[in-house]
Subunit: 397 residues, 2 copies
């Protein structure tokens, strides 16, 4: 599968953003959420307390707290520091807001010509991932003293900027998938009766973390969730690892989120331990067939609903449609789940070159004590598609 | 260290909350952030999309999305499901808001008598920790159609509820520290020249994840950050792991956040590999002395500033005060960093029984290519303190 081809990728990120700003008569855009910073400027924040002003006609300026590491800030960003730390500054965000105001005055930009997205939800985590980002809820409201625009229509168009990945971004997502595959190898190696789900998951995450330092990787973190036997039937509702030990005859599912340098891969594999009953093996076989049918259909111009139907109809043909309870896929790359249209029934939006989507049908049958899902990350190209997550020589392609 | 004693713990959580509600003439409180749900009801959400109404005079009611696992919802919570999933419900939060409204009508409670905390920042992660919680920014504003109160003074008092842990909560934080110590053992075992920081950190996190299933542990996740040699001098500004390989003569610092069943431990250890230079060893020795001085001073009635001074003065006495760039500690337990007063200069708030704080002085000297921090979690008791993070038999107490 996958036809690696030279394709006309979408315009560069800078071109896409400038065109968006022109279209909305904006002179600048303010962003601070990790996935927004990554998408706008290729910068993945450590603390999540950095703020970018992207000007239509000048170099972007990046405000970082004093304590932010500097070694992975991309070239071409003018960096300004703001104070941080409880011994020095009790209200860093007030300082930040006034520094932003000063910058707008200096560049003679009217607040009304500056856009922000105040309502982003389900954003990605920064490098320091043990808490939510420190910038408080309501920060957009604090910025409103500067008169920045919060036009909802404009925000919807901004969200569209996430959809068409440039060639550099596709390479970064490819790398995340390569790292994820290192974790998946460990998953397959550990599939033996007697090992606990949490032990398998721990080994997978550990293998991913250890990739730091290879191929320019400065951040690599996996979230692995392993569900076996009857637990796999829950995987359509939630993914977690328990202390249950794998048994011969189980289906074992791994949901694996991987973040490498800020870019995300979102994969699922399901495999059998020993020889499951025929009614259990059927679940995995139908999912495999459904997933491949949908992947084979991915091309520029096809609608999301059509891709969904390719998977859904195969499952329905086996009388299992009521056990496929979720979408067939979503956009991926800047987040574990990128914003944008879903690959689901009734969605008329069409695929375009540069889009990266997941294809992840699943069937979960509690009464058979088994569930299966297979998920890959697929790039839409000019001539078809490329499966970014099937790595040659990994034994899983 | 540590005087494990039978102490008069703070009143039960329910008593503390009821007293708070009475004091503000409130009939209910609405919460949805993971640490709020944990503090109010001992419930740690999976998705982070659950909402609790805590009534002054009735059983709390918990709204959970259809896809939420049910097996760890504490007894005594009335559970109501709301729809979820892109095939069934495109706007789950609108459904949730109207379900909350229905509940208030049914219980004949006026919106004005219901409080919320709209501005919580730096909240903890739910079990599904690979993204921020799905409830969108501005959700509090959506609830405002119900007329709920957003009184700032009341919110400050609400935040105080985090500070005095009950005996059950202390036990849960003790367990988190016991698990964290399993990770720290792995850290010490791996301190050998040639191993990469990220490899040490990966092994620590893996050991923590593998604790699922022991002692009633259904969730166990660590975030380990290892900094060695010159990188340890950065640890006062940020913590991360790189590909640098440990060398003889290094100081190696581990910052370790551990979440067990929703309760947090926050620890730091620093150790030498081989025999560092005297000027490097001095850093660790002074930190050790400063930390012990502050821990020894922890008791009910002492102010935060006094505890801070115990550490800070020891460091100043060695002429190193400019290298101790942060607070001495903070509250911990419901989050990696609980809200509430810091243990820092000028803070007049006093310690009380049931408070759990970190004591974590550090000295970071770039020109010596070394930094050190030691961090423990300390419970204030009636007669002194107990160090929750020094586990007998772990070889580190």
């Amino acid at each position: 599968m996958g036809t690696p081809i030279v394709t006309a990728y979408p315009p560069s990120r800078a071109q896409q953003i400038r065109s968006f700003l022109r279209q909305h008569d904006l002179q600048a855009w303010i962003a601070w959420r990790p996935d927004e910073l990554l998408m706008l400027a290729g910068y993945f924040p450590f603390w999540g307390a950095s703020l970018l002003i992207y000007f239509a006609d000048a170099e972007p300026v990046l405000f970082v707290p004093q304590i932010e590491p500097r070694d992975h800030i991309p070239a071409g960003l003018r960096v300004q520091e703001y104070p941080w730390g409880d011994l020095k500054c009790a209200h860093p965000y007030s300082v930040l807001v006034s520094a932003v105001g000063d910058e707008l005055v200096k560049t003679r930009i009217d607040g009304e010509k500056v856009g922000i997205n105040p309502s982003a939800s389900r954003i990605s985590l920064p490098i320091q991932a043990a808490e939510q980002i420190p910038i408080p809820e309501g920060f957009a409201a604090q910025l409103s003293v500067l008169g920045v625009s919060q036009d909802a229509r404009c925000q919807a168009v901004f969200t569209d900027l996430y959809l068409r990945k440039t060639s550099e971004e596709v390479d970064a997502i490819r790398l995340a998938n390569r790292v994820a595959n290192v974790g998946l190898q460990v998953f397959f190696e550990n599939l033996k009766p007697g090992i606990a789900e949490a032990e398998v998951a721990a080994a997978v995450e550990s293998a991913i973390y250890r990739q730091i330092g290879r191929d320019g990787i400065f951040h690599s973190r996996g979230w692995a969730m392993v569900q076996s036997g009857p637990n796999s039937a829950d995987a359509g509702r939630f993914n977690r690892s328990t202390a249950r030990r794998l048994e011969s005859g189980d289906l074992v599912l791994i949901e694996l989120a991987t973040c490498v340098n800020g870019y995300w891969s979102d994969l699922t594999r399901t495999a059998a331990v020993g020889s499951p009953k025929a009614e259990v093996e059927q679940i995995l076989a139908v999912v495999r067939e459904a997933q491949q049918a949908a992947i084979d259909g991915v091309r520029s111009g096809i609608s999301a609903a059509e891709v969904d139907a390719l998977a859904r109809n195969r499952i329905a043909a086996q009388g299992l449609s009521s056990f496929f309870t979720h979408h067939t896929g979503h956009h991926v790359g800047f987040r574990y789940h990128d914003p944008g249209f879903g690959i689901l029934p009734g969605e008329s939006a069409k695929l375009e070159p540069g889009m990266v989507i997941t294809i992840e049908p699943g069937i979960y049958v509690p009464e058979r004590g088994a569930g299966a899902r297979l998920e890959d990350n697929v790039l839409v190209t000019e001539t078809g598609h490329e499966v970014l997550s099937r790595i040659e020589g990994s034994g899983q392609a």
